[in-house]
Amino acid sequence: MANTQHIPASEDLPNGPGAAAILAAGIGSAVLGLFALLGDAFSGIGKFFSFYNPTGPLSGVTISAIVIWLAAWYVLDKKWSARDVNVGRVSAVAFVLLAIGFALTFPPIMDLLQGK
């Protein structure tokens, strides 16, 4: 991919849609971790998340997280689609949410939070 060209000025777009997608991905990751923790910590929630019995709570945890991720993306995109936002700040929040997602899916941290 060595060929290069100038960027036409007409290709300028507001950064809002990109920021919305980035923040939504962070939200999706954090919610995934949160639901995984809740499903593991509380048997009632675990049962609720068993949308598809052969897969168990994992089915509900992931489907619910995906729904919230897509809903958050839709709402943020509606709000920011035609404007510029502070991407640095939005990205920082998204990275924190991403880190929360990683942390809450890590079993030793899940166990620690549950006092196991």
Partner: protein
Amino acid sequence: MVTVFHGMGFGALFMLAFTGAIAEIYRMSAPGAPAVPSQRDQTMLRLYLVGMVVLAWATVLSGAYLVYPWYRAIPPAGTTDLSAYPQKLLMSSPNTIGWHDLGMEWKEHVAWIAPIAMTMVAYVYTKYRASLAKHRDLRKAVLIFTVAAFIATGVAGMFGAFLNKYAPVRGGETIQLIKGE
């Protein structure tokens, strides 16, 4: 065969594809990058990222809905040979229970971060194309999420390989469902 498609097909291809994606996104994001790729190269990268998204979703969906039910199947009462019941086989020994408690418990959840992140990455690249070069913070975020997806995939792939070594998922004609979980 299903486990082969899940791990060696979708998963391994997805994992391999990260090298190209990270290199190309880094090249665009690196300080002092003089210009942006041509229209043809942009189209190629767009198709490449969309292909990764398809592989990522195929990997987690096949894992959760085709392989995982076999992994977590419970044996009928009185079964002594647990080789067809990987989760129970691993949990039957203190020497192997960690592969389930840490390996599978982490893998089954963290893997889903990868398709979420890569869907965002492909969307942002497709939306902005050449003009992404003018959005430094967007490029940086895209690169970091790509690396995060790579790490999540690495964790899932590594534990998948180890789990399959200690307690292979072979499948069968029927699945005994785990009640109440």
